[in-house]
């Protein structure tokens, strides 16, 4: 037996005699004594120890075979995927004017028509049945999806019984700015299958109101926080925030402000802040600066760790590390724009050169080339990378913005070299404090 090529081993500053083992393939985490690790490496560990490490993906019979299995990982994900998961852009209207929004000038009054909505339902039901799926999940986007509440209720009230009649489950999520997220709305949507809403607050009120104002310029922080308070417990809420080089230091104070306002950590399913991506796109606000062009910018390493610590330290749930898949790699995941065009990333709507087909005709031949599907397979740096399961070539949209092409991978190695050990130490401290 051998240690997996996807195993990372770290020393512990406060436990000299122990090692922390992390599998980038399974994201399993164990503590092991030095003696036991030596016994494992020498092939002399007790059978039950070896069984545990094999089960966790940390020890393998044949490292070369495991590397080959990793090359087949995404086809396996597709074979096992029980879901049809579709992001739906209901229209481009938005009541906010966020300074960094990647949709930028693409926003406007266009919206999904009745005929397109009818065809969307027909397309989804046909595909669900043909692929013998178990669950249909729609992620409603805009613009602001809650400006299209009647379209959401219409789609959900038709799809829910139809999917259930096929023996499946129907659910949906919202990516919403939160300004229209009221108890009346949420209760109505939960009855139709709403399971999660992702809502963005950019730190304290003054910063948030500068970056995420209403279209008329008024601040939106008070309205969102009031809605969050009123909707606590009605559905899972993911709290998100987008920070820049200049304002990241203010974000942790949001968590204290929410606590002072009476929020509990359990009011949020998870909390996570992200560095704004610097978008170099014909639709984006050309005056916005302060985003990152790569996760390798040193300030991104430091701030992502600092804010992760701030979130976990206060007892909020920060999502666990897990293998990263991209919509491009998932056969049964795609984006439908308001006009019925299909894309393989929500960020590329409005770019007809990246359309992959439409809901009348299905996927068009050749879309894989447009999105450089499996691009990492041709790169030795990826095929032999210990971080491959956490990356699979990174974010194609970021590569496109930075380099004008998706052909090159968006390598996460330097980022993970700089942050993984520290993230695991945070996990040890806050997720598993008694260990």
């Amino acid at each position: 037996m051998h240690l997996s090529p996807f195993l990372k081993i770290f020393s512990l500053p406060e436990k000299k005699e122990a090692r922390l083992l992390f599998s980038t393939k399974s994201c399993a985490l164990t503590l092991l004594s030095d003696e036991t690790l030596a016994a494992v490496q020498a092939g002399k560990a007790a059978p039950e120890t070896m069984d545990t490490l094999v089960r966790l993906g940390m020890v393998v019979a044949d490292p070369a075979k495991e590397q080959q299995e990793m090359h087949d990982y995404l086809p396996t994900v597709n074979r096992l995927n029980p879901n049809l998961r579709v992001s739906v852009i209901l229209g481009m209207a938005c009541n906010f004017a966020c300074v960094y929004c990647y949709e930028g000038s693409l926003k406007g009054s266009v919206a999904m028509s009745d005929a397109t909505a009818d065809q969307l339902i027909a397309h989804l039901l046909a595909r669900f049945a043909a692929d013998q799926k178990k669950r249909l999940i729609l992620d409603f986007y805009g613009g602001e999806p809650l400006l299209y509440i009647s379209r959401i209720t219409s789609l959900a009230s038709q799809l829910k019984p139809a999917i259930e009649a096929l023996g499946g489950t129907f659910n949906f999520t919202l990516v919403t700015n939160g300004s229209l997220f009221t108890p009346v709305v949420v209760k109505e949507l939960v009855a139709l299958g709403l399971v999660n809403a992702k809502i963005t607050i950019d730190g304290p009120a003054d910063n948030h109101d500068r970056f995420r104002p209403f279209k008329g310029g008024q601040g939106s922080w008070d309205a969102i926080v009031a809605n969050l308070k009123a909707c606590r417990g009605l559905c899972a809420i993911t709290l998100s925030g987008n920070y820049t080089l200049e304002n990241h230091a203010t974000f942790s104070s949001l968590l204290d402000t929410l606590a002072a306002a009476g929020f509990a950590t359990t009011d949020f399913d998870s909390v996570q802040f992200f560095p704004v991506m610097q978008v170099n796109d014909r639709f984006a606000n050309p005056e916005f600066t302060g985003g990152c062009c790569s996760n390798d910018e040193p300030w991104v390493h430091a701030t992502s760790l600092m804010l992760r610590e701030a979130i976990m330290q206060r007892g909020y749930n920060f999502p666990k590390l897990q293998p990263a898949t991209c919509m491009v790699d998932i056969d049964d995941a795609f984006t439908v724009d308001h006009d019925g065009a299909i894309y393989k990333c929500v960020t590329l709507i409005g770019h007809p050169e990246f359309a992959c087909g439409d809901i009348w005709h299905g996927m068009a031949p050749g879309w894989q080339e447009k999105y450089c599907a499996d691009h990492w397979q041709g790169k030795e740096q990826c095929r032999e990378c210990e971080y491959l399961p956490l990356c699979f070539g990174g974010c194609r949209y970021m590569a496109l913005q930075r380099e004008g092409s998706m052909a090159g991978v968006d390598c996460q190695k330097d980022f993970l070299d700089a942050t993984l050990e520290k993230m695991l130490m945070q996990d040890l401290k806050y997720r598993y404090p008694t260990k």
Binding site: S26, A28, L29, T30, L31, L32, S33, A46, T49, L56, G57, N78, L80, N81, P82, R85, S87, C98, C101, Y102, I137, D139, Y141, V175, K198, T238, S270, Q272, F274, P275, V276, V279, G291, N295, V300, S304, R308, P319, L321, Q322, A324, T325, M327, I330, A333, T335, C345, V346, T347, L390, C395, Y397, Q412, F415, L416, T419, M423, R431, Y432, K435
Partner: protein, 38 residues
């Protein structure tokens, strides 16, 4: 000798990853990395 192994997290298998696959913006991200902001 008593070998000591403490399993802190069982991790996820490929079936669980498959059940969570979809758009990176609509679901919690795996790491503290950037995603397009809207």
């Amino acid at each position: 000798m008593q070998e000591k192994i403490i399993v802190l997290d069982q991790g996820v298998d490929v079936a669980k990853v498959a059940a969570m696959a979809g758009c990176c913006i609509g679901r919690p991200s795996t790491a503290a990395t950037s995603s397009p902001a809207k």
